[in-house]
Symmetry: C2
Subunit: 200 residues, 2 copies
Amino acid sequence: MNQDKMGKGEQSRARLLQAAAVQFAAVGYHRTRVSDIVRQAGLTQAAFYLYFPSKESLYQELMDGFFQKLWELSDAGGKVTPLARHEVRDRMKENLLELFRFFARMPEQTRIVLTGAEEREELHRKLTSIVSANLRKNQEAGHVRPELSVEVAAESMLAVVQRLTVRFLLSGERTAEQLAEDAAALLAKGILQADRTKEE
Amino acid sequence: MNQDKMGKGEQSRARLLQAAAVQFAAVGYHRTRVSDIVRQAGLTQAAFYLYFPSKESLYQELMDGFFQKLWELSDAGGKVTPLARHEVRDRMKENLLELFRFFARMPEQTRIVLTGAEEREELHRKLTSIVSANLRKNQEAGHVRPELSVEVAAESMLAVVQRLTVRFLLSGERTAEQLAEDAAALLAKGILQADRTKEE
């Protein structure tokens, strides 16, 4: 929603969410205090507790939508299975593009989950299991090279996406489009079966 | 050197180095105290200061050799340039194998540099610049695909090696040989020019 069309309460709420996102991204959830959030938002502690019962509840609200979309995007490989061989590479690139665009739209949440020690381990396990399962399905469908370990491929894909996001996307050095192009070029050849016929 | 052939002093010194490596790997350099090291080594503080002037000097000794070898191994791509096209892929796999074997031989130091926040940023910059420079040379020599961004490729290679090392090698789930095989299969196709003639 555009700020102009928000009521004053909604604006304050949005400012608190944004200020908290910046703080969590910079120093982590545990080291962020409500007093830091309200100072950054230019509001009072009283205003904070008008909109959020606690720091935890604000964090949940900030991250719930992010994670829901992240699971959806990381599961996009599952829709590749029924495609014809020659469509798979383009779809892989589109999926990467959507993921990088999502990270670019939500830089603070992305930084929280990709660089914050608190979230990383569990997130990592969950993402790996989603991506591995889809790679296995796509291997059975003949899209993924049969000799490949899907666990190794999943870890590698995620490591590449994570590193490129932190190093080039969040720093503003490259766009989502450039990174999707490069990551797809790199990963598709290593992971996908060669499309020798181009019309299979 | 075999422990049997060491003098008592050398044995104590080696025990302190090993105990310190384990502690640094587990909790990081800053949170490790000399008292933790001597307890783990079964020695006294007095013994520690007989062999090392400080925690810093022990750390330097532990890591200097490791870093020297790490720079050497990460620079191995530079020796690929004069090779014939059909030799490059095998050499890339051999280089990865040497790197994974080195990490497997030095698990504590590897953990310190790959997972310890203290070392990571600077290490990362240095490794990326070594690998990028070699990829660029090999791109000019026609070994690396011309459309590839060498910075993106370098970051991706390092991210994959780091992730596979932490996830599968240090955990003992896969051997250096298995990982070199998989990483080379994944990365070679994405990075190297196709060797269509096999005899170029």
